[in-house]
């Protein structure tokens, strides 16, 4: 072992994964005009203190005012993507969508706001929001 830091020299790329996310597809069908659905651009926004403040505000606000609840318990479905009103319940993707909605409402471009899905270390699926900035991709998680 050379003992090099594991991140040294790493690079990340986005490649077509070739798969679909059913909940997102259903959400898009129900919300065809939602900006993240219609947006096909891919940009970064300049990181400023104001942006960071907005990200923290939106993240905290949604996390504080909404309650995590599994889709199966709310809708009787394993997966149901939806926008939450303040005080409503939802699971991870609902938090992410709601945060995206608020950032869009603040005037940030949809081309820099990305829904991201993946697996947590124990293998369960998860969803969160990413805002692409010139200082890195910022994660808004629950």
């Amino acid at each position: 072992m050379s003992g090099l830091p594991i991140n040294q020299g790493t690079e990340e790329y986005l490649l077509d994964s070739g798969y679909t996310v059913t909940g997102w597809s259903e959400f898009a069908a129900l919300n065809p005009t939602f900006a993240l659905v219609t947006e096909t651009g891919d940009t970064k926004i300049t990181m400023t203190s104001e942006l960071m403040d907005d990200l923290k505000t939106v993240n905290d606000e949604v996390n504080d005012r909404n309650t995590y609840k599994r889709d199966i318990d709310t809708y009787g479905e394993l997966e149901h993507w939806s926008l939450m009103s303040s005080g409503a319940s939802g699971d991870c993707e609902d938090f992410a969508l709601t945060k995206a909605q608020k950032l869009l409402g603040l005037g940030y471009p949809a081309s820099a706001i990305k829904i991201e899905v993946g697996d947590v270390p124990d293998g369960r699926g998860h969803c969160w929001l990413v805002v692409q900035t010139d200082k890195g991709d910022m994660v808004l998680d629950i």
Binding site: S2, L4, I6, D119, V130, M138
Partner: protein, 441 residues
């Protein structure tokens, strides 16, 4: 409450991002990842960095597993394609030894086996003084204790024997002709089993047209040590050969029996310092000897006849005091490798795990020594780590009779001449220590 963080900080895997109307996957290209090479017994994997003037000799493409999905824990788990032949050595030996009471290692007998991809080589006539040395690449696998025991039992405890097996025994006959009275053929049925076993081993040897085994017992040497051999509970020099493609024969022998001398292994790093301080006598210790003699090896060509050979040895032979490398506070020399790059032995100190089996011909005047560095398992230094070195027999005289001092080690201006397939094929002349690098320790 999750704080805002950057995407590279989150531990999520298999990430995909809705971008440009698609779910795009995060793919991470990892660079500078530390690699833990397979052990040489798994067939050495290395990609030698050859100088530009040497022919391209590409290495294998490895399949690497990141253990526990942790990039800091890579492990080579296989080859993308058939591994090319490479050179390595490995040891076999019973985990329990009849000499265990004299040993501090669980393995008292370690046998190095070398296999080759050598074209048109023939075994030497061991009865003569015309000695040729051949280096044999490509390991097959390590025999299990049970297999080793079976082989030893089959041989019946020593003597001049040979195993032959495989689909083409013509070359085996050639070998026999060369071996003359030095060897005998054993019944082949066991050898065939061994051959099958090897073919199905971890190295892909399916294309080996011929396979045979040889247990070598240079009679000259044995006769010298007859009193010991007759008394030893396990006596025999062992070995086998493998025909691989055009290879016709390989003999190897390395062996160590220690009767009462309380140093157990072939590791000269263990033995030598003690020998210097308190040299044993031949009655106290038996050494491991290995023989690799070929009359027409393409690797090395030495002068005909004893006198010329000894002249050549006098001009070219030397020893490499790797015993130093096991001792703290000793400086290491820098050498040129057969690839033409500088190898700083100091940096490799921690990786030295083997200091050669002593090799001997049935002569008082020539001893051949080999050594191995644990290169492949540690991915350091020169991958061509299985060279052989000629040592003048005087070294052992000095060693045994206490005439050798540390001063001798480092002030005699020794040079060493490693021989390897690479060197012999691609370079002329020997590789030596850089002048002045062997400073006193």
């Amino acid at each position: 409450m999750k704080e805002i963080t950057t995407a590279d900080k989150i531990p999520y895997r298999n990430r995909a991002r809705w971008t440009k109307g698609k779910w795009l996957q995060k793919t991470i290209i990892i660079r500078n990842v530390p690699i833990s090479y397979m052990k040489e017994t798994d067939c050495a994997l290395f990609v030698p960095a050859l100088p530009s003037y040497l022919p391209t000799y590409p290495g294998d493409t490895a399949v690497i597993e990141f253990q526990d999905q942790d990039w800091s824990k890579p492990r080579v788990i296989g080859k993308e394609y058939l591994p090319r032949a490479t050179q390595a050595n490995f040891y076999i030996g019973p985990s329990t030894s009849p000499f265990s009471e004299y040993t501090r290692d669980e393995v008292a007998i370690r046998t190095m086996r070398y296999f080759g991809g050598l074209a048109n080589s023939r075994l030497a006539d061991l009865s003569g003084g015309n000695i040729k040395l051949l280096i044999l690449p490509c390991p097959i696998r390590v025999l299990s204790d049970a297999e080793l025991t079976a082989i030893q039992s089959f041989r019946g405890g020593g003597g001049r024997v040979a195993f032959f097996a495989g689909r083409d025994l013509e070359k085996a006959n050639d070998v026999l002709n060369q071996l003359g009275s030095q060897f005998e053929i054993l019944p082949t049925y066991d050898a065939v089993e061994e051959g099958v076993y090897i073919i199905s081993g971890i190295c892909n040897m399916d294309d080996a047209p011929t396979m045979f085994w040889i247990a070598a017992n240079p009679t000259g040497w044995i006769s010298k040590r007859q009193s010991f051999w007759s008394a030893a509970p396990f006596k025999d020099m062992s070995g086998f050969g493998l025909a691989y493609n055009d290879v016709t024969a390989v003999i190897y022998d390395t062996y160590l029996i220690q009767q009462s001398y309380p140093y157990s292994s072939l590791y000269m790093t263990d033995i030598m310092p003690d020998l210097i301080d308190s040299p044993p006598t031949w009655d106290d210790v038996e050494w491991a000897f290995m023989s690799l003699y070929f009359p027409a090896g393409h690797v090395a060509e030495y002068p005909e006849g004893k006198a010329a050979l000894y002249d050549w040895l006098a001009a070219n032979t030397s020893f490499l005091p790797y015993s130093r490398m096991a001792q703290s506070g000793w400086s290491m020399p820098t050498i040129w490798t057969p690839y033409g790059n500088v190898w700083n032995l100091e940096s490799a100190r921690a990786y030295v795990d083997f200091f050669g089996a002593l090799c001997a011909y049935a002569s008082d005047n020539l001893i051949v020594c080999s050594f191995r560095l644990d290169m492949l398992t540690n991915a350091v230094g020169d991958p061509d780590a299985f060279d052989y070195y000629f040592w003048p027999v005087q070294f052992f005289d000095w060693l045994i009779n206490g005439k050798l001092t540390q001063h001798d080690f480092f002030q005699r201006g020794w040079k060493f001449v490693p021989w390897s397939p690479y060197q012999a094929k691609y370079m002329s002349g020997g590789i030596g220590f850089l002048p002045g690098t062997m400073t006193g320790g």
